[in-house]
């Protein structure tokens, strides 16, 4: 079964954006050269969860294949918003290391959730409804871009874009304070991140990247201990990579800056 290019339905008519911007590529630390976009980044070359789909039950197969083959159209965001959201998501979770055919259309999945008003079963009292929060958040990001750089967020370079997003991460935005009166900044940042990882790590391409086993009914697993791969899984083959020099996101600092400690994170699935 051929898996179609999931990216095709994303509206990006500007041909220039399809060109690879070398400055945005991860770098091989040995050679200092950019690593070319790959069909499958990550340490499990050749691993494919989709290759195992005959071993999945029918209901699961339908759901996962639909995710790959039937990418929902953009219906919630306006075309301007969609373009801005794409630029934001390209930094919140960069995919520059993926070739065009294997980029995961996270904006479409987020749009689909908001269009269908699917929520996670709660809303913080200091937050507007999710769909409003996303609209306000985009407005705020655009306002900050224009205040700081006099340009649209979509026109900024990666360092400028990351600077803005980092200010949200740190809870210290430089503008759009009227919007932050209407919603909690760190809850918005977590809502955005959560929606992006919800979309990305639901995709079989992402499972291949991180070496996750994927659907496992009715076959199950037999090698439980010692991190051993099943016969259809592959061993890890690590390579070194550095984030592009202009990016600011390959570091780990607490949300809201140091000493910020909130007891709760939104959308956490149950664990125990």
């Amino acid at each position: 079964m051929k898996i179609k290019n999931a990216r095709k339905t994303v509206i990006r008519e500007d041909a220039v954006t399809f060109q690879v911007d070398e400055g945005r590529l991860p770098v091989n630390p040995q050679t200092g050269k950019p690593i070319r976009p790959m069909a499958q980044p990550g340490y499990y070359p050749g691993y494919s969860t989709l290759s195992q789909q005959a071993f999945w039950d029918e209901a699961t197969r339908k759901v996962v294949l639909a995710r790959v083959e039937q990418v929902p159209p953009i219906r919630f965001f306006s075309s301007d918003e969609a373009e801005l959201m794409q630029a934001v998501c390209d930094r919140v979770l960069p995919q520059d290391d993926r070739d065009e055919a294997h980029k995961i259309p996270v904006v479409n999945y987020i749009d689909d959730r908001l269009y269908n008003q699917r929520i996670d079963g709660y809303r913080f009292e200091d937050m507007p409804p999710d769909h409003e929060a996303h609209r306000l958040g985009l407005q705020a990001i655009e306002t900050i871009a224009r205040e700081m750089y006099g340009k649209s967020f979509t026109q900024l370079d990666q360092t400028e874009q990351d600077t803005i997003l980092k200010s949200l991460h740190d809870g210290k935005p430089t503008a759009a304070h009227d919007i932050w009166q209407k919603m909690s900044i760190h809850r918005f940042w977590m809502l955005l991140l959560q929606d992006v990882v919800d979309a990305y790590y639901a995709h079989p391409y992402a499972w291949d990247e991180i070496g996750f086993g994927g659907p496992a009914y009715p076959r199950g697993y037999m090698r439980l201990e010692g991190g051993k791969p099943e016969p259809w899984e592959v061993d890890e083959r690590r390579y070194e990579w550095e984030a592009p020099a202009g990016s600011l996101s390959d570091r780990y600092e607490p949300i809201g800056g140091p000493r910020h400690h909130k007891q709760q994170t939104p959308g956490q699935e149950g664990t125990h």
């Binding site: 209901a59 639901a202 037999m222 996101s249 664990t271």
Partner: protein
Amino acid sequence: MKSPLLGAFDGARPGEHMLGPIQKLDVPMHTFDLNEEVDFCIVGVGSGGGVLLQRLARAGFHVVGIEAGPFWDTERDWVSDEAGSSKLYWNELRITGGEDPITLGANNSGRGVGGGSVHWAGFTPRFHPSDFRVYSEDGVGVDWPITYDDLKPYYELLEKEIPVSGPAYYPWGDPHGYSYAPHPLGGVGDILVEGCTKLGIRVVPGGPVAINEGSHADRPHCIYRGFCIQGCKVGAKQSTLVSHVPDAVRHGAEIRADSMVFRINMGKDGRVTGVSYFDSNGNTREQKAKVVIVAGYAIETPRLLLNSACPGFEDGLANSSGTVGKYLMVQIGNVVLGRFPGLVRMYKAPPAHALTEEFYETNPKNDFVRGFAIQTVGPLPIAFAKQMMVAKGAWGWGMRRVMMDYNHWTALGVLGEILPWEDNRVELADETDHHGIRVAKVTFSLHENDKKIAKAGVEKTSEILYAAGAEEVVEEPRYAHLVGGARMGSDPRTSVTDKWGRTHDIPNLFICDGSLLPTQGSANPGLTIQALAARAADFLISNGPDLMKRERRMVAVTDPPVRHDLSPRGTSGRGVPRIKARRRG
């Protein structure tokens, strides 16, 4: 693409309602005339409601369960996929606030027949004897109106009915053994056992957990795929959907799924007359019943009682004490994650398969009372990414990088006791749901003792991970398990129900779910909720005729015998624990 030897797995067959690959539900089930006044109407068919429905039906009563969510056909409806399983949760709007707000939905709220037991990880430890006497022993919280010994026979019954897999000897609380074999360890359990052993901490591998290690009757054994909280398509993990509901249906119970009860109706004589609900087509219906039992869990039960306010009960039903919705609890559920040099692949094996309760009881050396447990958890990629978002502040390339190391990480969960506080509560928000019914507003804040337990739990768990060889340890604060909100107690001025779940104010209105719990210990509440339901059933069955007489408020049988003949087919009397608990005093 290679095909399986037996051909592709095609799944559901037309015209059959499957619960797992083997168990078939008898369809069509019995339906009562819509105008019949049934004996018992249960609102919510989850952990509590499912067990209760089964027993009342087996005892021969006319019983209807009304469930807001679907009656799952597991082969058709459930998937072996994290994102595709969101329909298992209560995703309708609730407002959450307070100093330390609780996230709801996927974190702790089920929807559909089986309720929370569909998406629980299945840890089934008993509460400790001390949990029932927290006020007497530690001067905090409140004592239960029952003791451990009152509940113990029902723990033993449910451990067979579920059935619970676990070690031959379980050393904590009231030490006891399990009839059914423990599970093999996955990568996470291996690390917990390794770390605890190095530090001299007692730890039990392989359970207690509500997952079949071997096949029993029409319930297959576990296949170690790790999708427990996405709903067990295998049918190995217990939910009341697969363990009790089939027996209930076989004995003439009716379940009305996709039907949302919005009001309990009061008669003029101070008794309830039944419930009003929106059926699966959105039409308003009324179900008359001699006795109504609310089993909607810690948010929806108070919401329904409050939304049923009427003349004479202006503050909501059964709320003369003013405690409906109050003393809501969650457990400290901080996840502590360690990165290991080698691969772990924590997605394999059930998330719940090893634990220690060594730090469960009050220790005078601590600067807090009560304690915590440490348990295995095995987050799948999306949950893990959200943990890394908080635990490491990961985003952008940092998120991509740490996710590429997913298979190197291990997650352990702290499960700590949060005490019941009056200010942690469920109220009604001004906003309404799509039916126009006011939604719940949840307010939650941590108190000093709670924060100290969380801190101590995270420190101890980190120590264990380092001892097992972790090179980096981080933590994500979070909560687990809702309980409380309509607590039982001996004093009608400070509780909603008596020790059987009968509301103090209304003689034929009962509550049977996690909202009854006055305190919660550091044990996962699922087993206790089911055991309380079985105990409530014995009361309801023994006193059925009295409860249904309009002129009577008193019941004849105040100490009903334990009925051992009401277990689902093929569970009672099976399995012999080698070590039986012998509790002193």
